[in-house]
């Protein structure tokens, strides 16, 4: 048997003039954990689709298990044991765990009838195989994201998976859940099953993979074994540029320490407890913590989406009640949600409509109808200010890249002229170049006197961009860091409770 499970040689693919992949090769050995990294638009998803046989390559060859495929079809790919777990997992929320694990296999076998004994047995065997325990009768909609991931992996195994491709599997998981997912991946490796892991998060890539293939602009930058890489080198290889990081400095004197927001004893049962903090004009206050630490719940409370049970909120020294988003907007608080696709944008609407949605009241003419001139002016102003790159502002928001989409959401809220701007993971899923651009926008806003709360998943992001940091855990603020420059990355990692980064070399 060949040592290589999958060999992809010199694959090229163009979509209507755009070269998505340009002579890319990748090879994966049996039992190898291989990471595919690259920024948005680097060709990762096209490559996966070609390996899955969903998209046909223009040029190049694919060899699986020593068999040569000129024209790989989806069915061939599945027969050769290649299973893709897409980001949405493709599960059936209304069906049981057991059925979700077994159903695809039965469809593939073209069964006409169902044997419930087989369904249960298959599910039980596969779960045992990867040493996981789940209630077989429970419906998918009632179980956690991490358990759903396990179900999706088991389902792939029922179809004789030899290579499991996971498309950003960790984006909805907490750190502990990610750890247990990684132990499953290691288990698969022991059984000789390979994993192709697609991720945005550098720390994860360094933690789990053995081999890393890096794509940039449709071209392969290189294939590296993990001990050749570290954080900075990986970023450099992905972006092709050295990104200089400077720390944000709070300019106290310019802003005369004007208190914008104060929260006293804010509590909401099951979400967060006794939260106290202050935010001054010109500050960037970081809130870090694991998923489920209460950070997003707290932010939503300040924006009127998750009413707190008790506690006081002061804006400009005056006590206020924030019971709805309307209240929050009136108090000039803005909130940029974590999930820009489902919560931030009207994805099918035009870019311009997305920008003006928050300020419709301000662009009315004397007849209380929308004034075209005012509309155009606002749209032009904000799209220029935030450098939104698009051939047309009337194109749908979904046509934009992640970074540009986030600029649209930023523009929309900046148009309301907020005093306090809460940003919930503003750079999630955004490529590194756009990321640093968004960071500099945030800093400029703070320098202009806005008070900013930056919730972040990434410790380095918080450290570079905040002057003060709150660490949340299990609904409480467990640590206040009044001078972000006084603490190192590793120290903060330890406080937040993440494992230390696997720093290599």
């Amino acid at each position: 048997m060949a040592k290589e499970l999958l060999e992809v040689k010199n694959i090229s693919k163009a979509y209507t003039g755009v070269q998505a992949l340009d002579s890319v090769s990748i090879s994966i050995k049996r039992g190898e954990i291989h990471c595919l990294v690259g920024e948005n638009g680097s060709g990762k998803s096209t490559l996966i689709k070609i390996i899955a046989g969903v998209v046909k390559a223009d040029e190049g060859e694919i060899i699986i298990n020593g068999r040569f495929y000129q024209n790989l079809h989806a069915i061939d790919s599945i027969r050769e044991g290649i299973q893709v777990i897409y980001q949405d997992l493709s599960l059936f929320p209304n069906l049981s765990v057991a059925e979700n694990i077994s159903l695809n296999q039965m469809v593939e076998r073209k069964s006409k009838l169902i044997s419930w004994k087989d369904v249960t047995n298959t599910a039980r065997t596969e779960l045992k195989n990867i040493r996981e325990k789940l209630d077989l009768g429970e419906k998918i909609e009632d179980i956690s994201m991490a358990s759903r991931q396990i179900v999706a992996i088991c389902r792939a195994l029922t179809q004789g998976a030899k290579l499991i491709i996971m498309d950003e599997p960790t984006s909805a998981l907490t750190k502990t859940e990610i750890d247990s997912l990684f132990s499953v991946i290691l288990d698969l490796k022991r059984k000789g099953i390979s994993t192709l892991f697609i991720s945005h998060k550098i720390s994860e890539v360094l933690e789990i993979s053995e081999k890393v293939t890096i794509l940039r602009d449709g071209k392969k930058v290189g294939e590296y074994s993990i001990d050749e890489l570290d954080n900075d080198k990986l970023i450099f290889l992905m972006t092709g540029k050295k990104i200089a990081y400077s720390r944000f400095k709070y300019k106290e004197k310019e802003h005369h320490e004007k208190m914008l927001l104060e929260v006293r004893g804010l509590s909401k049962r099951g979400n967060f407890e006794n939260v106290n903090f202050k935010l001054r004009s010109g500050e960037i206050l970081g809130i870090v913590g694991l998923l489920g630490s209460g950070r997003t719940e707290l932010a939503l409370s300040l924006f009127g989406l998750n009413k707190a049970d008790s506690g006081e909120i002061y804006i400009d020294g005056k006590q206020v009640k924030i019971n709805s988003t309307q209240d929050a907007v009136k108090l000039r608080i803005s909130y940029l949600p974590e999930d820009r696709l489902s919560q931030g944008l009207f994805i099918e609407q035009s870019i311009s409509n997305n920008i003006i949605i928050t300020i419709l009241r301000k662009i009315l003419n004397r007849l209380r109808l929308i004034s075209n001139i005012k509309r155009e002016n606002s749209i032009n102003k904000w799209s220029k200010e935030l450098e939104i790159k698009t051939p047309s502002l009337e194109a749908a928001a979904q046509s934009l890249s992640g970074g540009n989409q986030q600029r649209v959401v930023l523009a929309r809220w900046l148009a309301t002229n907020p005093k306090v701007f809460i940003l919930d993971c503003p750079t999630i899923g955004i490529d590194i170049a756009s990321k640093s651009n968004i960071h500099s926008i945030i800093r400029d806003l703070a320098n202009a006197g806005m008070g900013i709360i930056l919730i972040s998943d990434e410790i380095p992001e918080a450290l570079q961009n905040c002057n003060r940091i709150l660490v949340m855990s299990k609904g409480r603020i467990v640590k206040k860091i009044n001078d972000a420059s006084s603490i190192t990355e590793d120290e903060l990692f330890n406080i937040v409770g993440k494992k230390e980064l696997n720093k290599v070399g």
């Binding site: 059936f92 209304n94 059925e99 159903l103 695809n104 006409k112 169902i114 209630d135 489902s342």
Partner: protein, 336 residues
């Protein structure tokens, strides 16, 4: 064990079951003749047709679709079969069923074609075909009612057929109608399809997540086409049962009762957004709606109250589903 009990109580069917029991006790205390075998037999006979339509509607709902045209299909099957029998002079109930069900499958296939192949939204398509089918029936087949004297005998005989007959003390008799058997047959057939065939699991799968069903390799077009044909077939059966029960046919009948059927299915715990629901629940829903309809007068309310209740049940049912989704959303911090 504890978990098992918990799971039983997580099904809404069990609550509906208790509500029906309590409601029956109240009705019996008002009118002792409510809880008699005779009344039960009568209830089964008169609501069997509705039960069959409800099972059909449940299957559509499970697949994430909605069908409001089944009443037009039922009356078309009924009226066309009765007219053919009268015109040809053949007095055979099996032929009546054959014609009515064929008409049902044909009209269902039109729905199925529009929905599965052309991928049109189910509610709009069936709203359109509801009007189109009924309009075509009235325009091309006729508007004249068929009275009992004209009606072929086979319908009347069929409507009187009992599985067994019991005799009262005074010598008169009553029995369990053959309708019970037909309903049972439809229920068992539908249950087998849903529970033990890949086709049935495919129906659940489409209703749960259409994209996942496509990726899993289900034949979506085929499954959807089958569903609407099957609903048409069931409507055809109901059409003949209805005419035999009434011993009279008017092409204006049945159409307009869709909402009652939908209310029964929703009451039975089926989610209006698809993917979830059971046949047992649906049957309980039909029982509840039927008892309500027949006993409003007993409770001193006019029969217009029925319309009010049907509307309220649908709105409350949808609200509960939406509320459950919202709670699930809050848990995962999405606000829709």
């Amino acid at each position: 064990m504890n978990k098992k009990i918990k799971r039983i109580f997580s099904h809404s069917e069990i609550y509906l079951f208790f509500i029906i029991i309590i409601f029956s006790i109240i009705l019996t205390s008002i009118n002792p003749s409510f809880l008699t075998l005779e009344n039960l037999f009568d209830l089964i006979k008169s609501s069997a047709g509705m039960g069959i339509l409800a099972v059909g509607f449940l299957i559509v709902l499970l697949s994430g679709g909605i069908d409001v045209s089944f009443t037009a299909i039922a009356i078309a099957g009924q009226y066309i079969s009765a007219n053919v029998l009268m015109a040809t002079g053949v007095d055979n109930i099996y032929l009546a069923f054959l014609i009515s069900c064929s008409v049902g499958i044909l009209l269902g296939a039109i729905n199925g074609l529009l929905i599965s192949v052309f991928k049109l939204p189910t509610l709009i398509v069936t709203l359109g075909t509801l009007s189109a089918f009924h309009g075509a029936l009235l325009a091309f087949v006729g508007t004249k009612a068929i009275n009992t004297a004209e009606l072929p005998d086979c319908f009347k005989v069929f409507g009187h057929n009992n599985i067994f007959v019991l005799t009262r003390a005074d010598g008169t008799s009553y029995g369990l109608s053959v309708y019970a058997l037909i309903l049972l047959g439809v229920v068992i057939m539908s249950w087998l399809i849903l529970k033990y065939t890949m086709l049935g699991r495919g129906i659940y799968a489409i209703g749960g997540n259409r994209d996942s069903a496509v990726r899993a390799g289900f034949n979506i077009v085929g499954i959807q086409f089958f569903i609407y044909c099957y609903v048409g077939f069931l409507a055809g059966i109901m059409g003949v049962m209805h005419i035999s029960l009434l011993r009279y046919s008017n092409p204006m009948y049945i159409v307009g009762t869709e909402l009652g059927v939908i209310a029964a299915v929703v009451l039975g715990g089926a989610r209006i957004t698809g993917g979830t629901g059971s046949i047992i629940g649906t049957l309980l829903g039909v029982v509840m709606i039927s008892i309500l309809e027949k006993n409003l007068v007993l409770m001193g309310l006019s029969s217009y109250w029925h319309q009010l209740f049907v509307g309220l049940i649908i709105i409350i049912g949808v609200s509960i589903t939406s509320y459950q989704n919202k709670r699930r959303g809050i848990r995962s911090l999405t606000f829709r």
